[in-house]
Assembly symmetry: none
Homo-oligomer: 366 residues x 2
């Protein structure tokens, strides 16, 4: 807000109100020894604390006109001193020790900086997610590589021109969705720190769950109550539906129950992106190396922190509750993806003629 009520000229009008000795605007008291306005107070403070120094681009006479004075930091600072302002320049070691302790567990970043960091993180995650989504929509492939091969040579899966008459089957959609998630998570820097063995186990453990999670979110965003695949059909192959036709309840529950919870919680896309990587960084994955566990645990911590911050910002009332509600979604996801695995496994045993691609077998744990 501009101070319309603060004339910038020198005329010493309205004797009552005190005026800044430096710039003649209204003052509310002494600061650092001189009667001064908030602005001059803060200006002086910043100069001393940050040990700044300026040089006048005129002839050190800017103090003659108040307007010019405010433009020339050298003359302004000079006038502050002339009018008796003084402040202890805080000692070097103090500044340093403060900065040094920063990197440790960096708690000393100001709230604003933290928010800035968070929004950058969210923006990046959002961009990655959008790319994944775009790829899923535009990509089509007939490749049939195992999870291991894909992880070792991420480029092997080639985009193939799709016959426009060809209706993408549920099994193909599953493949594309799984694959798009593998590339998505593969983009995170820390993945490179992992050994191949760990990487394989981690992706084997996570890919189906988080692809399923993505499907649930898609359903929420499309305001449907039942999950369909990106093409808008049932996620299950027809033959599988047929096998369970006498008891479709289980198939339906997988597509509906967790969606309800997402709707209840009104999960935002930012929350989804953070949870996605938090869930990915599951340090409880069996049989991975201690190094891998540490890396996952550390990153789970980092993203949890961000999620909590986000909850605090958007969910003033009760951030911890919100946080637990969100984290607990993992329960719904694991429950139902396990169920799905079982149903597919039984189908696979009953219909061995039905050919699933390797990636599906690997991630569904056949």
């Amino acid at each position: 807000m501009t101070l319309s009520f603060v004339p910038l000229d020198w005329s010493p009008i309205s004797e009552k109100t005190k005026r800044c000795e430096i710039c003649n605007r209204v003052a509310f008291g002494k600061h650092y020894g001189a009667l001064s306005c908030y602005a001059c107070k803060m200006f002086y403070r910043r100069v001393v604390v940050k040990k700044l120094s300026y040089k006048c681009r005129g002839f050190n006479e800017c103090s003659r006109s108040p307007k010019r004075l405010l433009k020339c930091q050298a003359c302004r600072y000079q006038k502050c001193q002339d009018k008796g302002m003084y402040m202890e320049p805080l000692e070097d070691d103090e500044v340093k020790s403060e900065e040094a302790s920063d990197d440790g567990i960096l708690e000393l970043t100001s709230p604003n900086q933290k928010i800035e960091k968070l929004s950058i993180l969210l923006k990046n995650l959002n961009i990655m997610d959008k790319k994944r989504h775009a790829k899923l929509k535009s990509f089509y492939s007939l490749n049939d590589e195992s999870l291991e091969t894909i992880l070792m040579h991420p480029g092997v899966v080639r985009n193939t021109k799709k016959d426009p008459d060809h209706q993408v089957t549920p099994e193909e959609w599953a493949f594309l969705a799984l694959y798009s998630h593998i590339t998505y998570f593969h983009n995170f820097e820390f993945i490179r720190e992992l050994g191949m063995d760990d990487k394989k186990k981690i992706f084997q453990y996570n890919t189906l769950k988080l692809t399923y999670f993505c499907g649930l979110m898609r359903t929420l965003n499309e305001k449907r109550m039942r999950m369909l695949n990106p093409g808008g059909q049932e996620i299950y192959p027809d033959d599988l539906i047929d096998l369970y036709r006498t008891n479709p309840h289980n198939l339906a529950r997988i597509c509906c129950q967790p969606v309800n919870r997402l709707i209840e919680l009104k999960v935002t896309n930012e929350e989804y992106c953070l949870m996605n990587i938090i869930f990915f960084c599951n340090p409880a994955i069996p049989d991975i190396s201690d190094e891998a566990r540490l890396i996952l645990s550390r990153h789970q911590g980092i993203y949890s922190n961000a999620l909590f911050q986000y909850c605090e910002l958007t969910n003033q009332q009760n951030a911890p509750t919100r946080m637990t509600d969100l984290i607990w979604l993992y329960e719904y996801i694991t429950k139902n993806s396990q169920e799905m695995e079982t149903l597919f496994m039984i189908f696979h045993c009953n219909a061995p003629h039905f050919k699933f691609r390797k990636l599906i077998r690997d991630t569904f744990h056949f």
Copy 2:
């Protein structure tokens, strides 16, 4: 302006002038029981009158340097107390309104009141847990009621005098541990709000997992690396160990892997008590009614809030990370208790002559 005539260093110069016991600046007399300067006097007064509470952003050692001490309110207050300051916390009617507003989740309570509430909650949970523990140690029973019967008539399981020569078997310990957890959770008020059907499903789902969790914590507290039963023997019946003698790895992992994680995290008993009930209030339990889910979800929220507060108080660096690490323990618990169920199930099929009590069959989901 800083008091230039008041040196801030510790050197006890100029013997004549009295110095503040807290910050070493000049003091003019005693205040609230300690020789102190005006500043420390007023600081202490404000904290007590306004019931403020602070937490150190360092490691509760700021009192080592006088400059840091003045910046850290937590350490400053601590030092005031250490040097003998005391002041009656005035008791107006405000204190009473606190208890009335207890059940809501409202946020308007002051930091100090919140901490008070939290410590009451923790004390209560701790007492309940201690009782459960005492019961487990002293109780013995030959009853064989189903989970449903126990839930309907909690009194049916009678304490029986045990033949002092009788060595309690692993199977009996399992029964006693499971039973003690059922009575433990049955003591929570909100359980009464649940219908019988829901209650049964909830206990069926939770009892083994949380009894297992308790066993893991017992192992942590006894500083062992491998879970044994409360009697100090293997948790598995001998016959079961025999069945898996060629591959004892799975049996061992259940007893060890999650213990490692508990040790890593140095889980406190307060955290355990809160997690215990948070995990119990799992709204993702399949097939329970919407009312039950709501009740569980609400209570999970309440206790999550408390856990987060606790993490904030004890884990300055990074409460959200701590919180996620703790909540994520549920992953370890479910993973391993499922594995345990499977191992018992297979054993049950292989050795139908081995009679498990009804409660064990119900909670292990035979």
